[in-house]
Amino acid sequence: MGLGSLDPGVYFRVQNTCGETGMFTIGKLAVQTGVSNDTLRYYEQENLIQPTAKSPAGYRLYDRDSTRRIHFIKHAQACGFTLAEIRELLTLRGRDKACCGDVRARTIEKKLQIESKIRAMKAMSKALDQLIADCANETQPVTECTIIAALEQVNLSTQVQ
């Protein structure tokens, strides 16, 4: 439920509580971070964030560390980390005995995975180039289309590599 659908009196009380404690509602967290309320609730389900407290009326309340965590999650997602991997990074972030080398190793692993995907995508692109080149006559009926014929071949994957 968004703040807009709340009774104005309740809204005022929640805002007032937040002002006194330095905490804010899920709606304000959403505005500050550019992440939707639904996504924030999903992050909570996935144990990526937790409300710092609840208001007397039972509304989730968050503090500045929650904002920092959301920005962390967004930046990590932009670098290709999955939510499960981000959870591990957040755990490392909060663990006293963890060192930067462990975080760096995870980051290098992510780079390896991305480089591997890039290589696979390049191979796919090359295979498509071959199919396009083989189909020189685009006016042929589809029954004679070389691309369709090639895709129907059982051993295509070995041919295009």
């Binding site: 760096r104 390896l112 480089e115």
Partner: protein
């Protein structure tokens, strides 16, 4: 037989048991060549071998371990492979 251990400097999991594993490997198979490969200097080679996690151990070009094995696991794998190649 050639063993490549892919690692990155500062990775605590990569350092764990490294010396012990190397000693056990060299004792298990005569003439074994052990090479430590810094992934950061050899990204293409790591991708060629299918290394996606660290540390990883590649034996004769094939990925054998995607995390640090125990000494016994490594020894057993090396002896099996050395028997296969003989």
């Amino acid at each position: 037989m050639k063993v490549e251990m892919y690692y990155t400097p500062g990775c605590s999991a990569c350092l764990a048991r490294h010396d012990e594993l190397r000693t056990a490997a060299e004792a298990a198979v005569s003439g074994l060549e052990w090479q430590d490969v810094n992934v950061l200097d050899n990204i293409d080679r790591a991708v060629d071998r299918g290394v996606l996690t660290l540390p990883a151990i590649v034996i004769d070009g094939e990925i054998a371990f995607t995390s640090m094995p125990t000494v016994n696991q490594l020894r057993k794998t090396l002896i099996q492979r050395s028997g296969r190649g003989a």
